[in-house]
Symmetry: C2
């Protein structure tokens, strides 16, 4: 598995991003990724009851397990827009499929941005010709740029590896920043690969890996209406086909996990206003669901998050958050570590030098480890702090 200086392209995939005037002057806001041949495809969507129109369309289309392109606009979520919103998304879909000369049901549509506003269909339609004409091998970064909203930087991860006796490439792009919470992390994630893989195996692996990566991060505990993760696998690597229950599928899973873990950590680091990357590991739990509840209670506590932002070693807030998680807790067995320092054990504060704890809080990366001491199940998640800039960004978003 190699990283770093790889050119950002995947055999058989073209991409592009253009500005059509949804966001602002000359800001890219319409992106396209396209496989030169139909690809196996799987997707994971938000569980929000107010799913955006494009999500409803894609949920239907993905059932076939085949897709060839994904078109995305930023600047407007096309959510809470009812039947009109659905019609708008279908109009974009029809126009793009026509230009791409592919069946409409092989096209997936995504939107991100403000909720409750109509999609500027004419602007989008007027840009599709240029978007399609400009598709090129190294256009993935342009497509990524076109789907950014409050993201500070683009998020692209790529890996190559040998699977089924052939070199394969997996490349993922993501947009995130706000409304980041599992089910899923609020965002768009697209993965392109030239691996040859059976549809069912692809679906299973993709769901598993999303669960272990993007469903294990939280920036603000808010679930979006538009979360969508899509994988397209066009098979052009010509490897021995990957099927379920094969050892070589495990290798594919590892590379995919690596790509998505890099992306989801980038999303947390670029969380709106984030200044810290915080890992919350809860272990010693009786069940994984207990560990998960505890981890989220800590990660989503505004008091914990503001203390990290302020570099204020007020670790009692972590315990207070843990204590509110509605899980069985034997206080005497709980151990709380921050960085390499045990701050609480045997139902009492540990004897620590507060200056050492302050130093840990000053770091950009902070590890919180809670051992519940009651079992062998664990859960790990990644989160950020809560800063002035989070408030600033989100108080001034739509206007």
């Amino acid at each position: 598995m190699s990283k770093s200086t790889l050119a950002i392209s995947v055999p058989g995939f073209l991409a592009n991003g253009v500005a059509v005037g949804i966001k602002g002057a000359n800001q890219k806001d319409l992106g396209l990724i396209y496989s030169t041949i139909p690809a196996r495809s799987a997707a994971v969507f938000t569980k929000n009851a107010f799913k955006a129109a494009p999500v409803l369309i894609d949920m239907e289309r993905i059932k076939r397990g085949i897709a060839q392109a994904v078109i995305t606009n930023s600047g407007c979520a096309n959510a809470a827009t009812g039947k009109d919103g659905y019609t708008d998304a279908m109009a974009v879909s029809a126009a793009a499929a026509r230009q791409l000369k592919i069946p409409e049901e092989h096209l997936l549509v995504c939107s991100t941005g403000v909720i409750g506003k109509r999609l500027p269909v004419k602007k989008i339609e007027s840009g599709i010709g240029k978007l399609v004409k400009g598709l090129h091998e190294f256009g993935i970064e342009d497509a990524e740029e076109a789907m950014m909203t409050t993201d500070k930087y683009p998020k692209v991860a790529i890996r190559k590896g040998i699977v089924g006796a052939k070199d394969i490439t997996i490349c993922g792009i993501a947009k995130g920043a706000g409304m980041i919470e599992p089910n899923m992390a609020t965002l768009l994630v697209y993965v392109m690969t030239d691996a040859l893989i059976d549809s069912k195996a692809l679906n299973t692996v993709f769901h598993q890996v999303i669960d272990a990566t993007f469903n294990s991060i939280s920036v603000d505990g808010c679930m979006s209406t538009n979360d969508t993760a899509i994988i397209l696998a066009n098979g052009l690597a010509g490897n021995n086909p990957l099927e379920r229950a094969q050892a070589r599928l495990q290798r594919f899973r590892e590379i995919l996990t690596d790509v998505l873990m890099e992306l989801c950590q980038a999303v947390v680091q670029d969380g709106e206003g984030a200044t810290k990357f915080i890992t919350v590991l809860v272990d010693g739990a009786k069940s994984r669901s207990d560990a998960k509840r505890a981890a989220y209670a800590i990660a989503n506590s505004n008091l914990v998050k503001t203390a990290f932002f302020g570099e204020d070693p007020n670790w009692g807030r972590i315990l207070a958050a843990l204590g509110s998680a509605s899980i069985p807790i034997e206080k005497e067995k709980v151990v709380l570590e921050i960085g390499n320092l045990t701050v609480f054990a045997q139902d009492a504060p540990a004897d620590i030098q507060i200056s050492k704890l302050k130093d840990i809080y000053k770091s950009n990366r902070i590890d919180v480890h809670v051992c519940l001491g009651g079992g062998d199940k664990s859960y790990c998640l990644y989160t950020s702090d809560l800063s002035h800039d989070y408030v600033k960004i989100n108080a001034e978003y739509s206007t």
Copy 2:
């Protein structure tokens, strides 16, 4: 029931607040309320697994249904302090009971402030003499001042009314500001009344009224280790005793509700950094628990709260939060009103003038009304916005 210009005192109750050096120079940090005779008493406590030492003590003592005094320090929560913390709280209890010449089990002890620090017992003990000597009829406001932490102003509410053929007085004091969330709202609340009431009736009514008031507010979704609400009823009004299932108990409940509603609204208005008072009413629900989940999903959404702070009429965030509440939702039936404006109905945005909605967002008091259209159950709660000052206050709290 009369309000406003009443002198803040309750027959048979004395109170005081002094500075003993826990918080800072000359800041009151030790408070006492005292009934000249033993009073019927009931209390509601935090459900946090890491209950502070004084909470554990009071939970035992309140079982008798009798108490005569409550001593409170601010500046240190005495939580997450284990056996030492318990010993510390017992030492304060012993010293105060000795000075007051009451049985120790008739004294309740409370602490509020930073978690995980040992209680400065010597400082407290050294101040108890002065505290007790200074007890006076109009000392309730001093006691209130002594328990404030990040509160910007004291919270006192008083009502008189005729119950059981006699004038009775109910006076409540509260401290709040941060860690405000039900089970309970994070805070200390003490209610003093001269009404004569049966212990069981008092316990039932107090739990009911706390549920309808302090358990229906949320500032930051964080549950504290120290939440305690206590009522003392010394019976000096000489009314016909109030017992369960009596009509006149209903009158008492109304007056108590009025006092606690005023206090809990004051706590929300003084929520850390709060600039808006927001009422979230969810009705048309199949069950009260569905309505409650929906209301909390909206009230605790950082994205909703920052939009209110920024006066940014980004109402789509309210729908996104509602959609994440994990309750059954029929989108076509949902109606969202903000102030007197319907912004979403029949699964589509309503045709509104955005300037009118902006004006509503500029108000200090904003009503959010969600009708789910699927039943007749409802839930109403009160919350605040999320501002720069919330982050500032909580990033710099303990250090």
